[in-house]
């Protein structure tokens, strides 16, 4: 295709720069081709301003029907690749139709832009923000240039952030009480908790805590769900006995997590689950999945001190309840249900 590119080589260079490019925070971003680039980071309601400079190839002129810059928020589904759904679209006209003979710079500004969704790069869906400069030309097609940027929206720390505490089990086989110190975690947070063994009649080999991401795209009958395990963190080695309590401390920072996204523009949702998995000596898995909400925190808690908190894990009065066995490979996988 090189010759084509050569043939249709744009007769000018377009560059887009942000006005505060030097001071603005840059974050790594993984492009479609797998490369990681650094992109400027914005929040909703920020002013996005900068300059677009058009520089014709020396000796040539650029004839156009007008130049515009657009700020687009797009959602792209992978099963419908190339088809973007713009949920945000703002336009600034930069130039009236005419000719450009030499480098010309156009300032632009989008003030207090509403950017409700965050940049997301998932398994089946992508949400991106981009500045798109278009030099419209009548016959030869428009010249287009894109500049991506990243949006993250920090939320204040939740005022209510209860711990999650639950007694679960399989009747006469395994009763545990687990506790996570919060139900909402920010992305650099630490999950602290405890698992208390109330009854152990199976020979447990080990216990892991998994972070699973459930990304659902589409809606209705077309809903497509993709689940990935992002972290597999061993909590316990060996078989505990009744009365043991095992501490949980999982640092979230090493994992590539994103905030929880709920029904983004009716297109997709991203949810996170903590999955507690116990494996017995015959490699049967017993698990209990628990939804947790992740978010970016306005003021991430300082990680200055060691995390050494132990939530108290008191024994509750034990009520016998029904046993729930999940469908599917019941022999191999068994969900632990609340009692």
């Amino acid at each position: 295709m090189n010759y084509l590119i050569g043939a249709f080589k744009p007769s000018c260079n377009i560059s887009i720069t942000f006005s505060d490019a030097k001071t603005r925070k840059q974050v790594p971003f993984k492009k479609e081709n797998g490369q990681t680039v650094m992109l400027p980071l914005f929040q909703s309601q920020e002013n996005i301003s900068g300059k677009v400079s058009v520089e014709p190839v020396p000796g040539k002129k650029v004839e156009h029907n007008g130049i515009k810059v657009e700020l687009l928020g797009q959602i792209e589904m992978y099963f419908d690749r190339g088809n973007f759904y713009d949920f945000t679209s703002l336009v600034r006209e930069l130039d009236i139709p005419g000719e450009i003979y030499e480098r010309k710079t156009f300032p632009f500004e989008f003030s207090t832009v509403e950017m409700p969704y965050e940049t997301y790069n998932g398994a089946n869906v992508r949400l991106r923000y981009v500045l798109k400069v278009t030099i419209s030309r009548g016959y030869a097609g428009s010249i287009v240039e894109y500049q991506d940027f990243v949006v993250r929206n920090y939320s204040p720390p939740p005022s209510i952030n209860n711990s999650i505490k639950m007694e679960v089990g399989i009747e006469d086989c395994l009763h545990i009480e687990f506790e996570y110190n919060k139900s909402k975690y920010h992305l650099k947070d630490v999950i602290v908790g405890k698992i208390y063994f109330l009854l152990v009649r199976i020979k447990i080999k080990n216990m892991d805590l998994e972070i699973r991401r459930r990304e659902s795209t589409g809606s209705g009958a077309n809903t497509h769900v993709e689940t990935e395990t992002l972290a597999k963190f061993e909590l316990m080695d060996g078989a505990p006995v009744r009365g043991e309590s095992i501490p949980i401390r999982l640092f979230l920072s090493p994992y590539e997590l994103t905030p929880t996204h709920k029904n983004i523009n009716n297109k997709f949702s991203v949810k996170y689950y903590l999955n507690l998995v116990l494996v017995d000596e015959e490699d049967r898995r017993y698990f209990k999945q628990q939804e947790n909400i992740f978010c970016w925190c306005e003021r991430p808690v300082c990680l200055g001190g060691p995390t050494m908190a132990y939530p108290s894990c008191r024994l509750k009065a034990f009520h016998n309840g029904q046993t729930y066995v999940d469908g599917g490979d019941a022999q191999r996988q068994q969900q632990i249900s609340p009692i």
Binding site: M236, D237, G238, E244, R249, G304, G305, P306, M308
Partner: protein, 790 residues
């Protein structure tokens, strides 16, 4: 199959080692290039080798030690990093990103150690965090090793009194809490091993557990090393919490080992002050725990402590150690109904040793212990268990060893009662021990009552118990035993003759019950002991108070007479004869003519009636002659009777040479050097001449029977007698008679019919040489000899 297993295990270990070393190599490279990320990655991979379940604790230890060495290097690196400005807190977080828990926790402990050292956080917080996080390892072997690693790296970083890490809210209480918690968790893991895996591998598991026990015990050692653990804290915190764990774990192996550990690692002084707490735990242990060993060790330690210095003794009194121990033992025995006899006895034996060390003056305590022991043994009959009887011997020996004095032991009224539970065999052993003790310490048994008590103790040796003679007795053993009894009797002595007489009577009473086999050994020493008393009295004025009841030699002799008579039942006439003669001599020295005569009579009767063997007769007659010769107490009449009899016996011996020798020996009866009235030269000559005649007859008999006259030895012997009496100045022995005897011998020797005998030749030659020698001496003797021509 076992060999296969071992082989497989070797392979797994080798594989683990290889994996470990490879990753260690990469880790080193990362460390050298200061690449923290890689260092963490490879160290985690290296530590993953420790996740294996295939190795026995023994082999796992090898792997662990290797990893341990590597972790030291990593720790150095972390220290360097911290010095270079890398935040330890960040490191502390960073290592926790590892996905596998075992490597994660090893790394966490390693960084934790650096963290405490950096003092960026209070030591107690870090320690608390580490010990809590380690709960994630529930696998016994891996958990024990991990926690032992934690214990190892934290040892020098405990906020002990005087340590760098004390202060700012970090106190020794935190250090103790930390160690106790780690100990508790380790013990739980260790106990849990017992209940995991199939029942048929129980033995193997127990072996593995014993290999791991020191890892658990180490914690107690660490506790004992903490300076800040003073008595107060030990009493209030350490001991109750350790004991709580020991009691609650309900595991036989752990309880036994940990109790032993507690006793060994903590100071004696602490044990003494917390005795009730420690002892209170004992009855709560599992019934199968070998509690006797535990308590014995405790008592042994306390005994040694008491022995170490007299200054500590008041402490024992203050805490009433004895009664506490005594109670505790009672309770333990009650609680453990099935405790075998050996256990009971061992406990009491230890307690006895303890009280002997701590309260040497409280004999009542010792007696109390023995009494309690008797109570427990009662109803069980004789003890059959070999080990148990050994323990009883130890129990009974303890007071002897302590006091070195049987007299003290005799005051213990329960002592013989305990002995009753021994079987006959052991009873004897014990009796021998008692006697040995007396002999060794030269103990004086000063009163008849004590003697009575002593003989009660050693009656196993004195008579056949239960009246049944033991047929399977080893002859040598029996002799050994009886010899020791004999030695005991020999040792008897008391300066007060009255008491001594009573003692002798007591001994006699017991000895005479011994039966024929024993009398042989016991009567002679008894006789000699009595004679010793006689000699003692002999020096004193007789009957100073004129009191009829007081001891006189006469009384003793009466007793002796009866005593020796007892021998007639055996019968050992030659022994009895000797003893009679001994007594006669003693009576002679006491100037008791009738008594001496009586003894002689008895001896003669024995000779006539009992001694029939010709060899024995020869010996006896010479003894009689020898004794009789020394008697000076006899009047003429008695003397004549006895002498006449002796001469008569001599002439009636069977063999001519014996006759001859006895007869010339009789010559001495008429010639006592230092008594002027006892020099009857005529009768001496008669004897010698008669001897010559017998010698002659002997020669002729020999000639007739064998064709040769035999040797002239008898003549040479008679010549020597002639020379003796000649020299002593017997006027009947003339030069002529000597001369003719010499000629006779010379002729006989040259005679063809005489059997040449070099010994006789030499004897004769030296006799002649003697004559020559006397001649050359000159003076009166020389003159006397001068006429004799050799």
């Amino acid at each position: 199959m076992i060999a296969d297993r071992a082989e497989d295990e070797e392979k797994w270990l080798a594989a683990g080692m290889t994996g470990l070393q490879q990753n260690a190599f990469h880790m080193h490279r990362a460390l050298d290039s200061n690449n923290l990320r890689d260092a963490l990655k490879y160290s985690a991979q290296m530590l993953s080798e420790l996740r294996t379940s295939k190795l026995s604790p023994h082999k796992y230890y090898v792997l662990y030690m290797r990893a341990f060495d590597e972790l030291r290097k990593l720790e150095m690196f972390f220290k360097e990093e911290a010095r270079r400005g890398c935040s330890v807190i960040d490191l502390y977080e960073l290592v926790q990103h590892a996905g596998n828990i075992l490597p994660r926790l090893y790394l966490l402990c390693t960084v934790g150690s650096v963290y405490i050292k950096s003092k960026e956080a209070p030591a107690k917080d870090v320690l608390k965090d580490l010990v809590e996080m380690c709960r994630g390892i529930q696998h016994p072997v891996r958990g024990l090793f991990l926690r032992s690693y934690l214990s190892q790296v934290s040892r020098d970083k405990l906020p002990d009194i005087g340590s760098d890490y004390e202060g700012d809210g970090d106190t020794v209480v935190d250090a103790v809490d930390f160690v106790l918690q780690n100990f508790t968790e380790m013990n739980k893991l260790w106990v849990r091993m017992q209940h995991q895996g199939p029942a048929r591998e129980k033995e193997k598991r127990e072996k593995e557990r014993s290999e791991l026990r020191d890892l658990v015990g180490k914690n107690l050692h660490v506790l004992s090393q903490i300076e800040g653990v003073d008595l107060e804290m030990y009493k209030e915190t350490v001991l109750p919490r350790v004991l709580e764990q020991v009691v609650n774990c309900k595991d036989e192996i752990a309880q036994f080992y940990l109790m032993e550990c507690i006793i060994q690692v903590f100071p004696d002084e602490y044990h003494l002050q917390t005795l009730d707490v420690l002892l209170g735990a004992c009855p709560q242990l599992q019934p199968s725990v070998d509690i006797k060993t535990v308590l014995s060790q405790l008592m042994e330690r306390l005994s040694n402590y008491a022995a170490s210095s007299a200054e500590v003794l008041p402490e024992f009194l203050q805490v009433e150690a004895f009664s506490k121990l005594s109670n505790a033992i009672g309770k333990v025995i009650e609680a453990q109904v099935d405790m075998p006899t050996i256990g009971v006895v061992t406990l009491y034996s230890s307690l006895l040793k303890f009280t002997l060390h701590v309260h040497p003056d409280r004999l009542d305590y010792a007696d109390q212990v023995l009494g309690a022991c008797v109570k427990k043994l009662s109803g069980k009959g004789k003890i059959e268990d070999n080990k148990a009887t050994k323990q009883i011997v130890a129990l009974l020996s303890a007071p002897l060893e302590k006091y070195n004095d049987i007299v003290t032991a005799l005051k213990l009224s329960n002592y013989p009662r305990v002995m009753e539970y021994l079987d006959n065999e052991t009873n004897k052993v014990m009796a021998t021990v008692i006697i040995q003790s007396i002999l060794k310490n030269k103990t004086q048994i000063s009163t008849a009552e004590k003697m009575e008590a002593l003989f009660e103790l050693i009656k196993g040796l004195i008579k056949d118990l239960d009246g049944i003679p033991d047929d399977e007795l080893d002859e040598d053993d029996f002799k050994e035993e009886q010899n020791s009894v004999a030695r005991l009797i020999q040792m008897l002595s008391n300066d007060d003759p009255e008491e001594m007489f009573k003692i002798i009577c007591t001994v006699r009473k017991h000895v005479l019950t011994g039966g024929p086999k024993r009398l042989l050994f016991t009567v002679p020493p008894l006789v000699f002991s009595s004679l010793k008393l006689v000699r003692q009295l002999q020096g004193q004025e007789e009957n100073p108070f004129g009191d009829d009841l007081s001891t006189t030699p006469k009384k003793i002799f009466q007793l002796l007479n009866q005593t020796i008579e007892a021998l007639s039942s055996i019968p050992v006439p030659d022994l009895a004869l000797r003893l009679y003669l001994q007594c006669a001599e003693a009576a002679n020295d006491c100037e008791l003519e009738p008594v001496a005569y009586e003894f002689f009579t008895q001896a003669y009767i024995l000779y006539e009636e009992e001694i029939s063997d010709s060899k024995a007769q020869v010996t006896a007659i010479h003894l009689i002659i020898g004794t009789l010769q020394r008697m000076h107490v006899f009047g003429v009449e008695n003397k004549d009777t006895l002498t006449h009899k002796a001469t008569g016996y001599s002439a009636k011996l069977l063999k001519k040479p014996d006759q001859c020798r006895a007869v010339y020996a009789c010559g001495h009866l008429f010639w006592v050097d230092d008594q002027e009235n006892m020099k009857d030269g005529d009768r001496v000559l008669i004897c010698l001449k008669r001897a010559l005649r017998i010698a002659n007859a002997a020669q002729q008999m020999s000639n007739a029977a064998r064709g040769s006259t035999g040797s002239v030895t008898l003549f040479v012997e008679i010549l020597n007698k002639y020379l003796y009496f000649f020299e002593k100045g017997n006027p009947q022995i003339t030069v002529a008679s000597i001369q003719s005897l010499i000629e006779l011998i010379t002729n006989e020797m040259q005679s063809e019919s005489t059997t040449p005998d070099p010994a006789t030749d030499a004897f004769f030659a030296s006799t002649l040489r003697y004559i020559e020698f006397q001649k050359q001496k000159g003076g009166a003797v020389g003159e006397k000899y001068e006429p004799i021509k050799a």
